[in-house]
């Protein structure tokens, strides 16, 4: 196992905010701010190596040990149930997993509910908890148009501001679970790089507390 702490960061706006937290926690890597197409950056002095990956892949990198720690959305953790430790709720990228449908929709319990979603496991678990018979329609994008075109009755998707729903004449019917970014760790890395991982967790928790109190 490499002596550097390998950190998988989610590409995009959230990733930049997350990196800033790592930097403030004492794990800077100035080269990451250079404007180029590189995906891997390391700072041997701080003992850290960062890499940008697709947000939905962060948990895979961490579970398989290519990254020691990473930051992934709770939606991904619930959907793929990776075998990782979930050490801290970073409170970033807050949104919610919700059931949405056309405003006029009324559920008829006598019929199987058709649910379009990218998050099949989350939707199945939610409706199994309600004892509701459903037909999952797995889609990879543009979920909002499924009820408009009659493909499904409802959708289960991430809702941030609700603007996309509104523009497509949909509304939130139920909130399933709040979502935010979580600091996750590989189980083996936690044993062998415990000091660095604990330091990051504690520093980040302290930063969040400071921010909440400010």
């Amino acid at each position: 196992m490499s002596k550097l702490l390998n950190v998988a960061l989610p590409k995009g706006r959230l990733g930049e905010k997350v990196y800033s937290l790592f930097e403030q926690a004492g794990f800077p890597c100035p080269s990451i701010k250079e404007n180029n197409r590189k995906l891997i950056f390391e700072n041997p002095e701080a003992g850290v190596r960062y890499f940008w990956v697709k947000p939905s892949d962060v948990a895979i990198y961490v579970e398989r040990g290519a990254a020691d720690i990473g930051v992934a959305g709770k939606d991904i953790l619930l959907e793929y149930a990776p075998q990782v430790y979930e050490l801290l709720d970073l409170g970033l990228g807050k949104c919610r997993m919700a059931v949405a449908a056309p405003k006029a929709f009324r559920d008829n319990p006598a019929r199987t509910l058709r649910v379009a979603t990218k998050f099949s496991r989350i939707a199945s678990t939610y409706y199994a908890g309600l004892g509701r018979d459903i037909d999952i329609i797995h889609l990879n994008g543009s979920i909002e148009i499924a009820p408009i075109l009659g493909l499904s009755d409802v959708i289960v998707d991430i809702v941030e501001t609700g603007t996309t729903l509104k523009e497509n004449d949909l509304e939130v019917k139920e909130t399933i679970v709040p979502i935010s970014a979580r600091l996750i760790a590989n189980k083996t890395a936690f044993q062998f790089k415990n000091e660095s991982i604990e330091k990051i967790r504690q520093q980040m928790a302290a930063l969040m507390k400071q921010e909440a109190e400010a």
Partner: protein
């Protein structure tokens, strides 16, 4: 040069260690009646089982697990323990690959009147197993009696939810769920303490003894201390961690539970514990403790590439003296591995290349 795959090297070492402690080899068939697994599906790592109908109409399964078969065939003798070890292939869905895999597994089971002597010995063997795999390892030890004492009185569903949070080292979710289920803040605080007190027994156990002094968890902490104290001053002591994220299924396990990690393999390579509850479910009155070592991931451990596949490539010409060639090759085999070939194979890397010609072995240009 040791060309044996890592899992085979480890297997030989494990057999030797287990035999030294009086464990007897246990050999079994690849098949088992499917019924055995239906009764105990949750005990299996993956509940997907490969089944087929035998010629007599019975539904059979390719073994996804070894422990259930060993318990089924165990004999109870009051005051004694039966000690067996196994090295078997099992067939189950790999959590990482999401498809069926043949997985080489080794392990041991100690069944009968289990006491602290037997529990400690199994921990010693777990530590020795990890040491056989890699020089850099950690054994996480826990006792289900500690979280169970704190969760007493809660519904099974809430307890299962909170144990899952403990398993994820997830204090934020644990607090949310405690709040949603109306669990007392004091209980939530104590459960969060279990998440944060990971580390060496000398550091963790005194802290927990004090913090949980007024709970029923004290007895379980005392037993952990009894089991871990004899390691003091040994090389094993530094590699032990008390870690309450080891939360094996409490419907089967009770008391001591543990998981082993080696540096370089992303998930635990060893898992075990005391499973008296499983014994009861299978109609046995005595207790049991054991563990499994998962050998399928060991190929990930770095083995330095020596830069060649064989020590010597010995080339010969068609029609050469066969007896002489054999004698020359056998002599070279005293020094290492030898591949005898007419031509140089494209993919074969050798440390040195020799030629057998006119009864003589000479270096190739």
């Amino acid at each position: 040069m040791n060309t044996q795959p890592k899992d085979q090297q480890v297997l030989s070492a494990l057999r030797q260690v287990y035999s030294q402690y009086g464990y007897q080899p246990y050999k079994m068939s690849k098949f088992e009646e499917y019924d055995l697994y239906v009764q105990n599906k949750d005990f299996l790592i993956s509940d997907s089982v490969i089944t087929f109908t035998d010629t007599n109409g019975k539904l059979m399964a390719l073994k996804p697990d070894v422990t259930l078969s060993i318990i089924k065939n165990s004999k109870e003798q009051p005051g004694c323990v039966q000690k067996v070890y196994y090295t078997e292939n099992v067939y189950r869905v790999s959590a990482a690959a999401h498809q069926y895999k043949e997985i080489l597994q080794a392990g041991l089971e100690c069944m009968g009147d289990i006491d602290e002597v037997q529990l400690h010995e199994v921990l010693v063997l777990a530590a020795a197993s990890l040491d056989s795999i890699h020089s850099d390892w950690v054994l996480d030890v826990s006792h289900l009696g500690v979280p169970e004492a704190l969760l007493a009185g809660l519904s099974p569903a809430v307890s299962a939810d909170l144990l899952a949070c403990l398993g994820e080292k997830n204090p934020h979710e644990l607090r949310r769920r405690c709040e949603a289920a109306g669990v007392a803040t004091e209980t939530a605080d104590k459960l969060c303490l279990l998440i944060s007190t990971y580390g060496h027994p000398d550091k963790v156990l005194p802290l927990l003894k004090e913090a949980l002094a007024d709970t029923a968890a004290v007895e379980a902490i005392r037993q952990l201390e009894t089991l871990l104290t004899p390691f003091a001053g040994t090389a094993v002591a530094d590699r032990l961690r008390v870690d309450f994220s080891v939360v094996s299924d409490s419907r089967y396990y009770n008391g001591l539970v543990f998981k082993g990690f080696v540096n370089g393999v992303p998930d635990s390579v060893l898992s075990g514990g005391q499973y008296d509850k499983l014994m009861r479910r299978m109609g046995r009155s005595r207790g049991a403790v054991g563990f499994a070592v998962y050998l399928d991931e060991l190929e990930r451990l770095e083995q330095a590439d020596p830069g060649y596949d064989v020590d010597t490539l010995l080339l010969y010409q068609p029609g050469c003296d066969l007896a002489g060639l054999k004698k020359a090759a056998d002599a070279l085999r005293q020094e290492g591995t030898v591949s005898v070939q007419q031509q140089v194979p494209a993919e074969l890397r050798c440390r040195r290349m020799l030629r057998y010609i006119n009864g003589e072995v000479t270096p190739c240009e």
